[in-house]
Amino acid sequence: MKNFLKRHGLWVLFAAAVIAVAMAVLSYFSNTSSPLANLTGVVASPFRTAYTAVSDWIGDKWAYYQDYQELKKENKALKKKIAEMESQVRQGQTASDENDRLHKLLNLQEKRPEFRYETAAVTERSSSNWTSSLTLNKGTSQDVKVNDCVITEEGYLVGIVTRVGLNWCTVLTVLDTDASLGAQVFRTSDIGVAQGDFNLMPQGKLKLSYLPAKSSLLNGDLVVTSGLGGYYPSGLVIGSVDAVQLDDAGATEYATLTPEADLANLSEVFIIKSFTAAG
């Protein structure tokens, strides 16, 4: 190789100079690329296409992989966000329920400002076929006492607290045979006694007895607590007159009442912890 360059070096240099000059001249006078460059480009073109295709394919795959990783990360973040939002919705629902409850309480309080209320949830219904009772989740720790009246959010009488524990109390509903309340017919002001009757209990009704001889009750007449004696507040709606009948002896009249409170579907009630007795 050394000898070859020594012997023909000048010729090689000369040939290279001639080729270079020739290419320079050709490219100067040509509108396109030089024939040699053109030839090289033609030969390389399929390789370039293949290279680009492979490169694009790899690029796509890499982008897909990156997108997939990104989406996985995003999905995880979104799931977390959804869980947080669901938790917020639940909190919002609880707050909304509480708001509703307080709103009802406020309405009741506005209607009867002389009452002091305690909201309570029904935890159990009658535990026997012979009584009509409810168990509530409030007791002496909330200052609930025996003989406190229990009403619905509309102010309809549910019953009277008969047993009370630390965090529970039992309410005998107005249908129970042991329930007995001084009552007054709202329209006529007739006084009577609303009491549970075992014959009427399965029908979800109660009895209004000891009515005055000349009472003139009509179906639908509203019956409220009389408040006489000061044991219970006055004006609590017990029910409406369903029918007026004569007793077995045929001597005195009594009325059957349908309670205004939907006793079978109660879930939340209000206990009247204290009230100002009507003067």
């Binding site: 026997s128 076929n129 012979w130 045979t177 075992f198 014959n199």
Partner: protein, 170 residues
Amino acid sequence: MIGRSETMIKWALYGAATLAALLFQGFVLQFLLLWGVMPFLYPALTALVGMYEGPVAGSAYALVLGVACDLALGGPIPCFYTLIFPAAGLCAGLMAESWLPAGVLCALAASAAAFVLTDAFHLLILALTGQRAFGTAALVALKETGVTLPFVLPVFLLFRAVSRKCHFYD
């Protein structure tokens, strides 16, 4: 003759079976309303134990159950179940001793008798409080007995298992 520890184990097992029955009543039967009444297992429990353990032990068990029922359920009078359940336990014990051998028939008959006694006492209390509702009360009693008796069978199997375990060497 069984020793003190066997006696304690026996009554602990009866207690556990009673607790299971009470949970069944509280979690299942309490929410079943069949023909307007719910099944009421408590009188049947006194009958089952009375049947297996005899009139004296049965009455004692029924007395404890009666006190528990009065404390937890409350009745028309403060000691309603305390008064009537021992009579139901005694009746079941006597029935098993002299009339029907302890078994499914005796369990059903003793349970029915326990319901008759309990419901008759309800009727008496209603009459004493001025409620003249004999027809309605009898219908409620009949329905209550009818809807409860099918549920006595699984409870009977439970108490029979306890009794067999406790009286294996008798």
